[in-house]
Subunit: 289 residues, 2 copies
């Protein structure tokens, strides 16, 4: 496994590998099993697997969150090597944002401006879209792999890739979960034992919603109520629970088509997000079959 | 010569040509000798020459300017064929901006916000940076060719390409001029005979500045005065004459390094721009040599 720090070195390493299929997994380090599952997907699909490690300062709205973001490069390189990564691209901030840097990729509309876009500030998805565009153009992979946990990030990046005609396939892998259902996240390491126990109410709330929808409840408000009960019992202050179209993030009052249910909540000082997609059976307005 | 209307067809045509060098010349049609000189440069350098024709609506601040922009596709295709273009990409607006399009590439700072950016509105260079990024990613050329007449556009695109790590070489070709010095522009066709005669004061003003600088005048204010005299004599209302660093567009009070002199003026109803770069001999503060 090769570790490179500059875009020029990355391109040089990739030059002779372009006859085969290149898969790219962008990360902010602090790798966990969720990242490993993305690396395995890229390894299965491709001839060359490139992973980046870059804690992107422009997508953090809170400097304390940026400063406190876990940085564990040695452990990350061990995970990458174990998963068969060929090239790790681990630049410093000056390589990505050199003096005079002045370009931003922005997505407008609900997918970038509501929910995470509203909570984390306008700059968050600008930061994500810009750095991912840069990383994709630096590596020029055939496919790039993202986790479904960051559903809104996925929607923003789908929009970016389609709108800019970026020649890459986005592959979205299922959210990786601990045995008790908690979505894996680099931020989970910040949870105390007591917080970790309460945090499981987030996936339980999503499961409660999914079960209720499967039982025939179609009203988003009614389903939201079920989730709120579960979270309230665990004393988890909700930031939002949204029922939206997975592509446009338009609110859906009725679950009569694929519906993204997205939750953000703070457990202690740690902000966690999770989601599920409800895919109801075809809905009949006549109540038949 | 093949004419394609969709990105998918463009990519299909280019698929088997990627072993050779691909040159790309983006245009808004209404081709003149200036465009032909870009096509010849691409033809000389490359194995495949791609030219686009797309009057990009997002970079026009005035709807009347967009509506009045000359559209001459048949004549343009004849010019392209004569210059040995291999593929013309001539999409309609819905191919470039389909329903739901929501992504913008923006450059901030003096290069995008002053002069043309101030006169034509903030959206102008956003529109340019976005559409050129899209066209470059749709065609993925080795090199793209631009005219030096649009000096600020070149600076914005250099910034965009560098900042987003777009894997393409920008080639800037000298401004093409009529025998009397007027910079060739698609807008020149709008000039009346009388306006056309007065418009030549713009390159004459630039030449006067260049001659004065060559004779040893270093003060931008003094040089500006020479240009203003020439333009006033021809009754041409100036929008701006700027002495700036060609890369950063920082104003330069003294021509002691390469200096872009950029002019915008209206001749009748037609807005024209032109520029020159002064490259003084090394400047000695001791008056020596």
């Amino acid at each position: 496994m090769i570790v490179v720090r500059t875009i020029a070195d990355l391109r040089a390493e990739l030059r002779d590998r372009r006859t085969g299929r290149i898969g790219f997994v962008p990360t902010m380090g602090a790798l966990h099993e969720g990242h490993a599952s993305l690396l395995r997907a890229a390894r299965t699909d491709g001839d060359t697997v490139v992973m980046s490690i870059f804690v992107n300062p422009t997508q953090f709205d809170e400097q304390s969150d940026l400063a406190g973001y876990p940085r564990t490069e040695d452990a990350d390189l061990a995970v990458a090597a174990a998963e068969g990564v060929d090239i790790v691209f681990a630049p410093d901030a000056a390589e990505i944002y050199p003096d005079g840097f002045a370009t931003t990729v922005s997505v407008t509309g609900r997918i970038a401006e509501t929910l995470e876009g509203a909570e984390r500030g306008r700059g968050h998805f600008d930061g994500v879209a810009t750095v991912v565009t840069k990383l994709l153009l630096a590596s020029q992979p055939d496919a790039a792999y993202f986790g479904a946990k960051d559903a809104q990030q996925v929607a923003v990046l789908r929009r970016t890739v389609a709108d800019l005609n970026l020649p890459v396939q986005l592959v979205v892998c299922p959210t990786s979960r601990d045995a008790d259902g908690l979505a894996r996240s680099s931020r989970n390491t910040r949870l105390s034992e007591e917080e970790r126990a309460r945090a499981v109410a987030i996936p339980r709330a999503l499961q409660t919603v999914a079960d209720a929808a499967a039982s025939g409840i179609r009203s988003s408000d009614a389903l939201r109520g079920r989730a709120l009960d579960v979270l309230a019992e665990a004393l988890i202050p909700l930031e939002y629970i949204a029922f939206v179209d997975p592509d446009t993030f338009e609110p859906l009052p009725l679950v009569d088509r694929p519906t993204l249910v997205a939750i953000a909540a703070r457990v202690g000082a740690t902000r966690l997000i999770d989601n599920t997609v409800l895919t109801p059976e075809p809905f009949s307005t006549t109540g038949g079959s």
